[in-house]
């Protein structure tokens, strides 16, 4: 499976950022339609098959990078990587049978992350994007019917986010592990507290 070289894309859209570490193209929401339709038609790429749409959630984290300071000694410099949420698209070309081409849409705010949807270009993305919305809370503009797909409509939170605390509604089940027992005890006091 021949890998796809990204240089053609950079030449075509110089202002785009190419993240070498993960080998993926970072897109800002407004440029998406133009780039994707170009990638679909361009004879060099012909990316007609969208294989996988996945959401990723990064919390704020200090990153220790080894850097050579002025005295020439390796020392750890801690930098704060901002919290961000990404939607990762994997493209393949069925026609030219070429390798994965990764495209990311990055959003910095966690309260109201909005990203442009690819469903107008690729019909297959409809359910996958609904799943990313359901589990991560990333809204997709231009999606035909953005609803929750796996959780039930009344569910408030977004379970796959890193800071999601699972609800404490374990039914009482005396399994040996300490924490489950203790959670169940909390739950019971809470129930007794409520019931008259």
């Amino acid at each position: 499976m021949a890998a796809i070289d990204h240089k053609g894309v950079i030449r075509q859209f110089p202002e785009l950022e190419w993240e070498a570490s993960s080998g993926s193209l970072i897109l800002s929401p407004e440029k998406v339609d133009e780039v994707v339709s170009w990638l679909k038609e361009d004879p060099a790429y012909r990316l007609d098959y969208l294989s996988c749409v996945s959401g990723v959630d990064y919390l704020e984290k200090e990153v220790k990078t080894r850097v050579r300071n002025e005295a020439g000694k390796m020392v750890f410099k801690t930098s704060l990587s901002p919290e961000k949420m990404e939607v990762v698209y994997h493209f393949y070309s069925m026609e030219k049978k070429t390798g994965p081409f990764i495209l990311k849409q990055r959003v910095l705010s966690r309260e109201n992350p909005v990203v442009t949807s690819l469903t107008p270009h690729y019909g297959g993305a409809e359910l996958m994007e609904r799943e990313v919305y359901d589990l991560f809370g990333i809204r997709f503009t231009g999606h035909p019917d953005l609803r929750r797909i796996l959780m039930w409509e009344g569910f408030q939170h977004y379970p796959m986010r890193k800071d999601y605390v699972p609800p404490n509604d374990y039914e009482y089940e005396p399994t040996p592990h300490g924490d489950v027992l203790e959670r169940a005890r909390e739950r019971r006091e809470e129930l007794e507290g409520q019931s008259p």
Partner: protein, 383 residues
């Protein structure tokens, strides 16, 4: 805490079609004899014709990806059996393949051959089961299904001897397989593979030229080439619409390039073609199995895997040609033995996008068959 909202039984008449008769909203609900598990279709019917269809699932959602983010890489291997519980082996292999992309482990020859043998056996099990369920939806009271189950028993006994369990096999490890097949296993496997074409012939005489199946399945749920690619369909559904895309041939993962086998391509992209493509694929799998068993080399079965699986920070997307389509695992690691993000790309979940497009304009009876021809397993759809 949000109380679990019980779905009120919604059956009210909404809208009118032009004859003045009401458009009936029928929820072909989770307990329906032919929805292959807990899957609901909200159908809007005008008489018998489907006017609108909304697939609703999530009843079997266990959030497999959240669990995987709490345990180490090797510990989530048994969970992959529970994804598509009909073909445990191919799920294991897909996960092992994408993990081996994170850390380069040399898989010995014998392990590669055993992986191919086990994957093709799973393909046989999945396809003959699917055809059984498909014809069962058509109405034949379980006869073809029970013939398929009879054959499946033999292969599941093989898996039980090899890995200890029939379906929850947990057999493939990063860098090889867990244990060597016992001595009598290969002879038994050879006997079953040789007997399989006879069963296939009997199955074909029973089903392919049957006028009722031809009348019911042809021209139903048609998907053209462009629509199939646009809907990201994969596996037999894609090849039934005429697109020659088989990941075993495209990615050449494992040692598939050493075996000579063909890829069946359908012409019309309707339910009958999907049924026939799976029939022909079974014959090709038998061909691969014969070659793989014939030149299975000696040698040890486990590569030099590290004691603690701790990949360098980075990401990897491994995919294989599972019986239902392209099964992919997208792993992001941040240097710790626990994966940062564990994403499964299940084939039947994505193939469902085309369900609504295919069912519009058909009858209720056709909607059932079209769902049957997509071959969904809810463990994989809901994850």
């Amino acid at each position: 805490m949000s109380p679990v909202q019980t779905m009120p039984p919604r059956s009210y008449h909404i809208g009118k079609d032009d004859l003045g008769a009401d458009i009936l909203e029928v929820a072909m609900g989770p307990h329906h004899p032919s929805t292959h598990g807990v899957f609901r279709m909200d159908l809007k019917l005008d008489g018998e014709t489907v006017v609108d269809l909304k697939p609703v699932f999530g009843y079997l959602h266990r959030n497999h990806e959240k669990i995987a983010e709490d345990i180490t890489y090797p510990m989530s291997m048994p969970f992959t059996d529970r994804l598509d519980y009909l073909c445990g082996m191919t799920n294991n292999w897909a996960y092992a393949l994408s993990a081996e992309k994170l850390i380069e482990i040399k898989v010995p020859e014998r392990a590669e051959y055993i992986r191919v043998i086990v994957a093709e056996l799973t393909r046989l099990v999945n396809h003959c089961l699917l055809i059984g369920f498909f014809v069962n939806d058509l109405g034949a009271l379980g006869t073809p299904l029970l013939y398929a189950l009879r054959e499946r028993e033999k292969i599941l006994d093989l898996f039980e001897v090899l890995s200890g369990a029939r379906m929850m096999v947990n057999y493939i490890r990063f860098g090889g397989v867990r244990c060597d097949p016992p001595d009598g296993w290969l002879k038994e496997c050879q006997r079953i593979v040789d007997a399989f074409p006879a069963f296939l012939d009997e199955y074909e005489t029973l089903l392919t030229e049957n006028e009722i199946i031809i009348a019911r399945a042809q021209n139903v749920g048609v998907v053209t080439r462009e629509e199939a690619i646009n809907f990201s369909l994969t596996g037999p559904m894609l090849r039934a619409s005429g697109v020659n895309y088989d990941i075993r041939k495209v990615d050449r993962y494992g040692i598939y390039d050493r075996f000579d086998f063909k890829v069946p391509i359908g012409g019309h992209g309707d339910c009958y073609d999907r049924f026939m493509v799976r029939m022909l694929e079974m014959r090709q799998s038998v061909k691969i199995l014969k070659q793989a068993i014939r030149d299975l080399p000696e040698g040890e079965i486990m590569g030099k895997a590290p004691k603690i699986f701790r990949p360098a920070p980075g990401e990897a997307y491994g995919r294989i040609e599972a019986p239902k389509g392209e099964l992919g695992f997208y792993l992001i690691s941040d240097g710790t033995p626990i994966p940062y993000r564990f994403k499964v790309r299940p084939p039947s979940f994505v193939n469902l996008t085309a369900l609504r497009h295919m069912c519009l304009g058909h009858k209720v009876a056709d909607a059932v068959i079209i769902l049957g021809s997509i071959d969904i397993v809810l463990g994989e759809v809901d994850r």
